[in-house]
Subunit: 265 residues, 2 copies
Amino acid sequence: MTLFDAGLSGSATAGPGPAQVKLVVAYDGTDFSGFAAQPGQPGVRTVGGVLAHAIGKVLRHEVRLACAGRTDAGVHAWGQVASFLSEPGLDPWRLQAAVTSMLGPEVVIRSAELAPSTFDARHSAQWRTYRYTILNRRAPDPFRDRFTWWVPDPLDLRALRLGADPFVGEHDFASFCRKGPEGSSTTRRVLESRWVDEGDGVLRYEIRGNAFCWQLVRSIVGTLVEVGLGKRRPGDMMAILRAGDRDAAGQLAPPRGLCLWEVGY
Amino acid sequence: MTLFDAGLSGSATAGPGPAQVKLVVAYDGTDFSGFAAQPGQPGVRTVGGVLAHAIGKVLRHEVRLACAGRTDAGVHAWGQVASFLSEPGLDPWRLQAAVTSMLGPEVVIRSAELAPSTFDARHSAQWRTYRYTILNRRAPDPFRDRFTWWVPDPLDLRALRLGADPFVGEHDFASFCRKGPEGSSTTRRVLESRWVDEGDGVLRYEIRGNAFCWQLVRSIVGTLVEVGLGKRRPGDMMAILRAGDRDAAGQLAPPRGLCLWEVGY
């Protein structure tokens, strides 16, 4: 029987037909070329590639993963969500344990559950939250290095916060995105954009939005850091947004500080 | 002029003579064969080896490092202290910045200062504090993995605490140490031995003592974890101490969870 022979069950319990499986996945993205599997390039190691391979081994059939956020090379996740259509009779708990024992601790399935047949990790998502962590101390920290961007010069937190405010709302983010396919929209709705001072020089930027175009968070953070260093004014953010020109914004913050934190459905 | 030509200055400021330099060093020990330089084995990468090499390059003379704790392969430090005799005119701040830019973020000099000529990182130390961190959750955590021991089965914190109490005081720790040179003492004075519940499944064991013999903390933690899992009783600890036999104690906890936290002078 192929995956699509039987009718979809529509129920979140293990019925007789195939079902969507929803996974919440955490990973250390340091040694991966991003999430999205790149089937044409066998030497490229991606989170989605190793995950689909491990699930396929456990279930003994190939799976096609959908994901909530196609994180870039070196970007991490605590709450990435992936989904796939499974053949009947799947035990989510067993799948979770088997895959985590194969891929953990680098890639860990934090939860696995059966979802309605209409569920799709990407298209059903209502919002995504990303966190970007900066270590703002004179000296780097060996324990935080993999997951933070070390900025040794002092950042003005008040300026960072003033600079973060204008992003809330619906905007065309063309100035902060790498161009997608011709004609694709760069308009997104941002629900939250704020800095959290964790103390001891650890500053966390948190942004929640309906969706994110390519490199959006990293270019916002890179530009805000220029504001925090006094190289730009917080008031410039609105003008950069309006310019609709990628060259108007600042540098790209490095991937190591970025983490896909949570996805809402 | 050799290092030892001039008289020692005895002052903590940059006088005309050579002076002891005190460094506080943090490192991610994952990819090192411990702290102690192994001069006879050129292929072995140690923290002390790379540190002495970098300092030598900056100061343009060889240095001999003393250290407060000879951490094992894979063990980390936040507050390791190292010292060496420097030629006159050293600028500690410049040394710190130059060495950290060469070795950071894997090895970071957190502070560098001139110390009295009698100072020695090892012999002047009054106490050392080690921390051992356990992740006690069903699933591993990609963000904590390098610096914690993942124990998936539930640990009884009350039993861990009862088991930790008897270590305080002066004891012969022969049951918990790998044998040192013939005739060397395994008696040590422990000032503090306690568990801190950091929440979210993170349990931290903290032990402060005048000195530690080889593998002492890891064999205490390995044995306490057997207590926490119900395989031994907290009351067994005293009997194990008294046995004076390495086979009486439990498994060795893995090095990844251990960190030399602070040294007192």
